[in-house]
């Protein structure tokens, strides 16, 4: 038996080596970039995805456009209706596979099909929408990208950091910017820099108000003895991106301003931590207020109580028994809480809504839309993206609930008119019933609520500097 096992193990090693050396040589030009440095790769990828830039400034060694990129280039000049006609031509009777971090793609697709049927009553489309967990969406898209013709027509994906480093720099996903969406934002499609966001979601600080405790400054959430409920940063990677963003000049500045507004006693308690981290901030190449960002991150990581999902956090905070507890969670979770003798939405206060609150009120991350570079139905994918980003009906799968803000100003306005989230906590008589459910909207959150917005490029650039620094911190364990 030992001999057999020894033989098997030896065989494994030999086969591994053989397999290592016998990789396929059929590679796409866009994929041969892993040997370049990140900064250089980024430049190249941008050149590739911004097709019009390439047209204006042709380069001798520029990679030719893939079939999907050619479709995207053409599609960016078409209106939704024109795109819809192309989609009908391409996919009538076919099956459309989508993959995304949001399950609601599944609800949006029937509406999209209805829309296409309003143009051609004979049109049919089967669809399947997958929502992988545990970060598997990136593995799934990577594996699918190896095929000449992929399975997935479209993807709705979050986590700008991994999108940038694993999907865009590698040429797996292409950005399509709908003409109508660009117009609504006052630009031409080719002028848009970055990915196409479908919506921004916010995670906000909420606290249970059945006790006397209040939180008037974002530094209160990391004060000694506080343990906020938060999805573990290793479970949901956008949480890591939030922490990365706190080291960016803008948000580190927010933290510094909030710190300055603390009373002297609280400042004195925090100052040693900030001083201690000045050197690290310099080593990591952060700006002048970088140490404030690092200090908040350190205190947060070393104090938050990890929970598997935002749902349980919300269910905890709304209970009578969760006195003085707080958490950082997706705002929209409040929508499904039912009143009972021990549970109420009025047990919750949104920190940033309270008078006199200073500092960051939470963070925002985007759901981005992409077309895989080997999409089997690129026209239909573009039409679907245009439909959900440019119409209120198309966006309604997400827009019907609070806490998700369309990136299209016209759709955002139409959604608010239709669903009136700003009055979501009012009763029929127009009285405030649940204050926490009156969603103040994206603009308020960004300007007044100091929402920390994810920047994919920044996150990707600091993932192995600030990111590694964060990994060295010791997470909190209940004692």
């Amino acid at each position: 038996m030992k001999k057999v096992l020894a033989l098997v193990l030896a065989l494994i090693m030999v086969l591994s080596v053989v397999a290592c050396g016998s990789q396929s040589t059929e590679t796409k030009p866009a994929e041969t970039k892993t040997e370049t440095k990140p900064a250089e790769t980024k430049t190249e990828t941008k050149t590739e995805t911004k097709t019009e830039e390439k047209k204006d400034e042709p380069k001798a060694d520029a990679a030719p456009l893939s079939l999907v990129q050619q479709v995207i280039k053409e599609a960016q000049g078409l209106t939704l209706e024109e795109l819809a006609k192309k989609a009908i031509e391409e996919s009538n009777g076919a099956t459309f596979y989508g993959v995304g971090n949001s399950s609601r793609g599944k609800s949006a697709l029937p509406k999209f099909i209805e829309y296409l049927q309003s143009l051609d009553a004979n049109y049919t489309l089967n669809f399947e929408w997958q929502q992988p967990k545990n970060n598997k969406i990136f593995d799934q898209l990577t594996a699918d990208s190896l095929k000449e013709k992929g399975t997935f027509a479209v993807t709705l994906i979050q986590d700008g950091n991994q999108i940038e480093s694993k999907m865009v720099r590698t040429g797996i996903l292409d950005t399509f910017v709908p003409l109508d969406w660009a117009k609504a934002n006052g630009i031409a499609p080719e002028d848009w820099k970055g990915y196409l966001p479908l919506q921004t979601l916010n995670k906000v600080f909420e606290y249970n108000c059945t006790g006397e405790k209040t939180f008037t400054n974002c530094w209160d959430f990391v004060a000694e003895g506080e343990h906020g409920l938060f999805m573990d940063i290793d479970s949901e990677i956008v949480g890591k991106n939030f922490l990365y963003m706190l080291t960016a000049d803008k948000y580190a500045g927010y933290l510094k301003d909030a710190f300055d507004k603390l009373d002297p006693a609280k400042q004195a308690a925090l100052q040693p931590v900030i001083d201690e981290l000045q050197e690290d901030a310099a080593d990591l190449g952060l700006g002048e207020n970088g140490a404030y960002g690092l200090a908040w991150i350190k205190l947060w990581v070393e104090s938050y109580a990890a929970v598997e999902d935002d749902g349980p956090i919300c269910n905890t905070l709304v209970q009578n028994s969760a006195t003085d507890q707080f958490g950082l969670l997706v705002y929209s979770k409040l929508r499904s809480v039912e009143e009972s003798d021990s549970v109420s939405k009025n047990n919750i206060k949104v920190a940033a809504y309270q008078d006199g609150y200073n500092g960051i009120g939470g963070y925002g991350y985007c759901h981005y839309m992409f077309v895989p570079d080997n999409s089997p139905l690129p026209w239909t994918a573009c039409a679907f993206i245009a439909y959900i980003t440019c119409t209120v009906d198309g966006f309604s799968a997400w827009g019907k609930d609070m806490g998700g803000y369309s990136s299209n100003p016209e759709v955002a306005k139409g959604t608010e008119e239709k669903y009136q989230h700003s009055k979501g906590g009012m009763n029929a008589a127009g009285e405030v019933e649940f204050e926490c459910k009156n969603d103040r909207g994206y603009d308020w959150w960004v300007n007044n609520g100091q929402l920390v917005i994810e920047d994919p490029e920044y996150c990707a650039n600091v993932a192995f500097t600030v990111g590694s620094w964060i990994e060295m911190l010791t997470k909190y364990k209940v004692k």
């Binding site: 086969l15 967990k133 573990d232 990890a306 349980p312 209970q319 003798d341 060295m472």
Partner: protein
């Protein structure tokens, strides 16, 4: 007279005849074919995952290190390929500042968890087996059937029950669990999260293994040895350590073999109870440290192989205990006393209530709570604090606090997943059961052959590899340019079959070894074809074990999560859907699915038991 040396033609003919004779025996054909197939299905994923540990992945640490510091982390790109290879993952995992956090601590925790789970399951299951088989304990029949419930249920359901019972705002910063909200009792942190609850839950989950294996020996043990010791005035402790324990040593080792590997690969229990092991670390490292995560999977596999080797070694030294024949009809029962037999029985009724009955009641109750974890009804008695919405809501799912989901009776996702689970379970049971039975038959026929021994071991190896590692390996193997089976029932069936063949092969082998060769030989003499021999003689005689070989993969597959969680999305099968709802905090749905699963397993077990006389107890561990 000199015999002429064989000519070349003669040699060829001899070889041909030898081959013909070899292939005329069905067991040889079975062993050859299955040996090749199983070698591929076991080795290929290992090769794929080994390769992944050397590969450079875009956007992860290996790419960063090889670009940033090419001297320390040299890389190799085969000509014309965009895929590079390096030792960066190994160097970084074993030597970086994060080595303790990413490798050594999770490894230590995993070993501790697996070891303590083994101890808990052996002590609890073994002691229970002793009470049931060797004492005059009351309520034996009831206790015996209820004791295996934790094994039937998905393992993390006990973890969820643990949380719902013991968590409190004061200690875990969550909402109060049942104990805190109703009785105002708060349990300490070590009781609520970490090693202790994880080991207890896994130990309780696997205790039925120990009960069935050790119980089997206790039941057949010759009591003469113990009686002889008593007559010779040997102290009780000495009798225990020198006679009783050595007799049940094989069963204890088998339990260790089964529990250690299973506990090591368990993801959901340590995940829910906040304990960092190699499995949970694998998932959390997968975004930035994909290659290093694959090394963790390899390490788990190495432990699986090591356990198998250790078991082989102990099998050899077991010769000295062959005086235990298992044929004696003398089974003496310890007298627990008139009161003792009732008191101890009652204690076990209470214990098994919490491990077996309470979870089911708790699941049922959860499906009527207005909000997940909202126990208002219990301390107000107000019926308005209960609801049937989680079952019967068929419209306006966004307006009724349903988190966008239809009630369970109308929820297509749940019933689609149920259909998927049944498909995968039935297919895995049929294929694994058939292959396992054939292996058992063929190995028993060629029991002295090295190749048969090899086939037997290679078929058993996947069982010892942690589920999550096997899942990872198959995901990598089948996610390539040519084959992409992610999120297909094909992949689940292949993986499930490979993983569950040992259930059937062990059950089949052990029973086939008891079967005298004469029975089949009589039929061979009469020139009865092999198929007829199998279906008219072998299968009817060994019906019970063979059916167990089909039932065990079926039941295990129904509630499997760790093996399948990386291979398909939620909504594909029930366990991933259950896990999804659990993580989302929609305990009404996850509890409802748990109920559906438990009821399905119990119904199948009862039906098969009534029809064939085979039951779960007979199959575990053969």
């Amino acid at each position: 007279m000199q015999i002429a040396p064989p000519t070349r033609a003669m040699k060829r003919r001899i070889r041909r005849n030898k081959l013909k004779t070899f292939f005329s025996k069905p067991q040889n054909v079975i062993l050859l074919l299955l040996g090749i197939v199983l070698t591929i299905t076991t080795i290929a994923p290992i090769v794929a995952i080994t390769q992944d540990t050397f590969a450079i992945h875009a956007g992860t640490i290996d790419e960063n290190l090889t670009q940033r510091n090419p001297e320390k982390y040299p890389s190799y790109y085969p000509k014309g390929s965009n895929k590079g290879y390096s030792f960066a993952n190994y160097i970084d995992l074993f030597t970086s500042r994060l080595a303790k956090k990413n490798l050594w601590r999770p490894l230590g925790n995993t070993l501790l968890l697996s070891t303590i789970s083994c101890v808990v399951s052996i002590l609890f299951g073994g002691f229970f087996a002793f009470l049931v088989t060797r004492t005059n304990l009351k309520f034996r029949k009831y206790l015996s059937s209820i004791f295996i419930f934790p094994y039937i249920m998905p393992q993390w359901t006990l973890a969820v029950v643990w949380k719902n019972l013991f968590y409190s705002n004061a200690v875990t910063h969550s909402a109060d669990g049942l104990l805190a909200s109703v009785f105002k009792i708060t349990m300490p942190a070590w009781w609520c999260q970490g090693l202790f609850p994880s080991a207890m839950v896994l130990g309780l989950h696997y205790a039925p293994f120990a009960y069935i294996l050790i119980g089997g020996i206790f039941r057949n043990m010759d009591a003469n040895l113990e009686e002889a010791a008593t007559i010779l005035d040997t102290p009780r402790w000495k009798t225990m350590f020198r006679i009783t324990l050595p007799m049940i040593k094989p069963a204890i080792l088998s339990t260790v073999l089964l529990v250690f590997g299973s506990a090591m690969g368990s993801y959901p229990v340590p995940h829910y109870l906040n304990f960092e092991t190699l499995s949970t670390k694998y998932i959390s490292m997968n975004d930035k440290y994909s290659g290093e995560a694959s090394i963790l999977a390899i390490i788990m596999m190495v432990f699986g192989v090591a356990i198998l080797l250790a078991n082989q070694l102990t099998l050899k030294s077991r010769k000295s205990y062959t005086t235990v024949t298992g044929k004696s009809g003398q089974i003496s029962r310890f007298n627990l006393g008139n009161a003792g037999k009732y008191v101890i029985g009652a204690i076990f009724i209470v214990i098994t209530f919490f491990t077996s009955i309470y979870p089911i009641i708790s699941f049922a109750f959860e499906t009527f709570l207005p909000n997940p974890g909202d126990y208002s009804f219990l301390y107000t008695g107000n019926i308005a604090n209960l609801t049937t919405k989680w079952w019967i809501t068929a419209e306006n799912v966004t307006e009724n606090g349903m988190y966008g989901q239809f009630g369970m009776l109308y929820n297509k996702t749940i019933w689609h997943a149920y259909g998927g689970t049944m498909l995968v379970s039935v297919a895995c049971a049929l294929t694994a059961g058939t292959i396992g039975t054939l292996i058992g038959y063929a190995v028993s026929k060629n029991r002295r052959s090295k190749w048969a021994n090899y086939v037997n071991n290679i078929a058993f190896l996947p069982y010892l590899m942690p589920s999550i590692a096997v899942g990872v390996a198959f995901f990598i193997l089948f996610s390539n340019k040519y084959v992409n089976l992610f999120n297909t029932y094909w992949l689940l069936i292949i993986v499930g079959t490979v993983k569950y063949i040992p259930f059937a092969s062990r059950a089949s082998l052990n029973s086939m070894l008891q079967l005298s060769g004469e029975i089949e030989e009589a039929a061979i003499i009469q020139d009865i074809p092999w198929f007829k021999r199998m279906f008219r003689i072998i299968v009817p005689i060994q019906k019970s074990s063979i059916i167990s070989g089909y039932m065990l993969p079926f039941m295990t597959c129904l509630r499997e999560l760790s093996l399948f969680m990386l291979l398909c999305t939620q909504g594909y099968i029930l366990s991933t859907t259950l896990d999804y709802f659990d993580e989302m905090g929609l305990y009404a749905f996850s509890s409802g699915i748990n109920l559906i699963l438990v009821i399905t397993i119990l119904v199948f077990n009862t039906v098969v038991n009534k029809l064939t006389g085979a039951s779960l107890d007979e199959g575990i561990g053969g």
